[in-house]
């Protein structure tokens, strides 16, 4: 059996753990630079606050309803996430942490100890709440994809109250029939549109398709998903963690940037992040996508992007930083108030099967990059950086509504009245 445990509006719920004064108030959390709303607590959901909408657009609406606004406090979320994962891990043989707020639990030997999965699900929920004050939803089924579907039901369908179990044919059909095909794990929005054209609207209708035929028409991933929806386990944790096909690092500026060198410094920092991630998954990029634009909500919207092709695929920070230097003159324009910029490594290939070029010199300088990464992982990111990245990050995150780091900074620990 598998379970998917995930926190309800994790960021917003995390804000309530050490601030009891806002537990019964509507709370929303903003993304980097306080740009958009990225988490809405259940109380705020009742006010119909749209997720991922830009903050400034509904600022007044939020103020009118006394909604509590918080900037993303990653220090706090990372700590609470770790606690939540540790508590959940106690209940199973194997845990796979899928994201900051969700994990799969795999029960093998534990299966013998459980006679009622429903009660077990409630127990997981209760203990996580008691020890961390985070509300979680639990979905249990015999494949990861069905566990994810059960979790969806636990939170979205009436009558489930945070826990749902698919352990009979009847429960499987009933839950899948009430679920949109676009909500099935692994079915993206583009794919679900195609499926809907074919008349496949619900998860149950997808489950009833012939897997072999769907493989021909779409992909092996769809075939696997259909099998999983029918109770045949096809995914293993390794499949879940395939290397990424594209790596992006982008961010909006805390303050608008108008200076050539400031933009260059920001882009170089993004290159640094992307190159580090490439090396971590042992990939090389053939191309680098570089862009910068002004705010779409202001007049004279300006956007410019350049794709730089490398003579050979690379993950060398220096080579990629040079690409920024060469591309910047065609991106930068005097007088533009730049709002956001970023870089993306595209067309990745594995470093393991690299085909070296006989005529051009190797640009990768692996030993230098290894040394670079080792120093930064031991002494902290940013210990060694490109000279073009300014030490004072004037473009770094704006977090006006940041809560204290209750569990990671001594100066921020919660006060208790005696």
């Amino acid at each position: 059996m598998y379970a998917l445990v995930d926190a309800t509006s994790f960021y917003a719920s995390a804000e309530k753990v050490f601030d009891p004064s806002i537990r019964h108030k509507p709370v929303v959390v903003l993304t980097n630079n306080d740009g958009c709303i990225c988490a809405v607590c259940p109380i705020a959901k009742k006010l119909n606050i749209p997720k991922f909408g830009p903050y400034f657009k509904i600022k007044h609406y939020l103020a009118k309803h006394n909604v509590v606004i918080r900037s993303s406090n990653y220090e706090l979320y990372a700590d609470l996430s770790e606690r939540m994962m540790n508590v959940a891990a106690r209940f199973c043989d194997n845990q796979h942490i899928y994201s900051i707020d969700e994990c799969f639990l795999h029960f093998k030997q534990f299966t013998k100890l459980v006679d009622n999965w429903h009660d077990y699900g409630y127990q997981i929920r209760k203990v996580v709440w008691r020890e961390t004050r985070l509300p979680v939803g639990v979905g249990i089924a015999n494949t990861p994809t069905l566990a994810k579907a059960a979790n969806h039901a636990a939170k979205k369908l009436p009558g489930y109250n945070g826990v749902a179990v698919i352990d009979t044919e009847q429960s499987r059909k009933s839950i899948l029939a009430q679920m949109n095909v676009s909500d099935v794990w692994g079915i993206g929005s583009r794919l679900s549109k195609k499926l809907m054209v074919m008349g496949v609207n619900t998860a149950l209708e997808l489950a009833n398709q012939c897997p072999k035929q769907m493989r021909k028409q779409f992909s092996v991933v769809v075939e696997r998903t259909i099998n999983e929806l029918n109770g045949i386990v096809c995914l293993s944790w390794d499949d879940v963690k395939e290397p990424k096909q594209e790596i992006f690092s982008t961010r909006s500026f805390g303050q608008r940037v108008t200076d050539y060198n400031a933009l260059k410094s920001a882009l170089t920092s993004h290159v640094n992040i992307v190159a580090r991630k490439l090396r971590k998954q042992n990939s090389l990029a053939k191309k680098l996508y570089i862009f910068a634009h002004s705010s779409q909500y202001q007049d004279n919207y300006y956007k410019q992007s350049v794709i730089v092709q490398f003579p050979q695929a690379t993950n060398n920070t220096l080579v990629m930083a040079n690409a920024v230097t060469s591309a910047l003159p065609s991106i930068f324009r005097q007088g533009v108030l730049f709002y956001k910029c970023g870089v993306g490594a595209i067309e990745l290939e594995s470093n393991r099967y690299r085909q070296p070029d006989m005529f051009s010199p190797d640009l990768n300088n692996e030993s230098l990059m290894q040394c670079f990464d080792m120093i930064n992982s031991r002494y902290g990111q940013g210990t060694l950086s490109m000279a073009t990245e300014s030490k004072q990050h004037s473009w770094q995150m704006k977090r006006h509504f940041l809560s204290p780091s209750y569990t990671t900074k001594w100066s921020d620990i919660p006060r208790i009245s005696c």
Binding site: F18, P20, S21, I22, R23, H24, R83, N86, V87, R130, E131, T132, R133, Y406, T407, W410, S411, D412, I413, P414, R415, I416, S417, C418
Partner: protein, 137 residues
């Protein structure tokens, strides 16, 4: 993280320390004071109402959410949107201070009240610590 230090041995060395084989991890206060790390948080006591049982202003409180709450346990609770440290009298649903000038508080249904955890340890800071100075203000 717990690390047993192993020193680099240079080519030329004297006698090996006779205690080398007996080297063990140093004592860790975390290990002694925190039974359930995932369920524990640290707070700062603020106020004089619990002096009778030895909790003073500026003390660190170690609070364990996983502990069973017994009658008359020293607890941290959310009382109307504020963390408070009191002794809990379960029979009379009262929060009791350890001081003559603070009368017991009876919890009513109109109060917002949840137990947050049991105070398992209290740490008094005698010599000022730089990291804590800021939160003492």
């Amino acid at each position: 993280m717990k690390i047993i230090p192993i020193y680099i041995e240079a080519g030329v060395s004297g006698f090996e320390s006779p205690a080398a084989e007996y080297k063990e991890l140093g004592l860790s206060l975390d290990e002694l004071l925190i039974e359930n790390p995932t369920a524990t948080f640290i707070g700062l006591a603020s106020g004089e109402s619990m002096q009778g049982i030895g909790i003073f202003d500026g003390d660190l409180l170690i609070v364990d959410r996983s502990k069973q709450v017994k009658n008359n346990a020293v607890i941290v609770a959310n009382y109307n949107g504020c963390f408070v440290c009191k002794t809990l009298n379960k029979t009379h649903a009262q929060l009791i201070s350890a001081s003559q000038i603070h009368p017991p508080i009876t919890i009513t249904t109109s109060d917002d009240f949840q137990i947050e955890g049991v105070v398992t340890r209290v740490i008094r800071i005698l010599e000022p610590i730089r990291e804590l100075n800021q939160c003492m203000l």
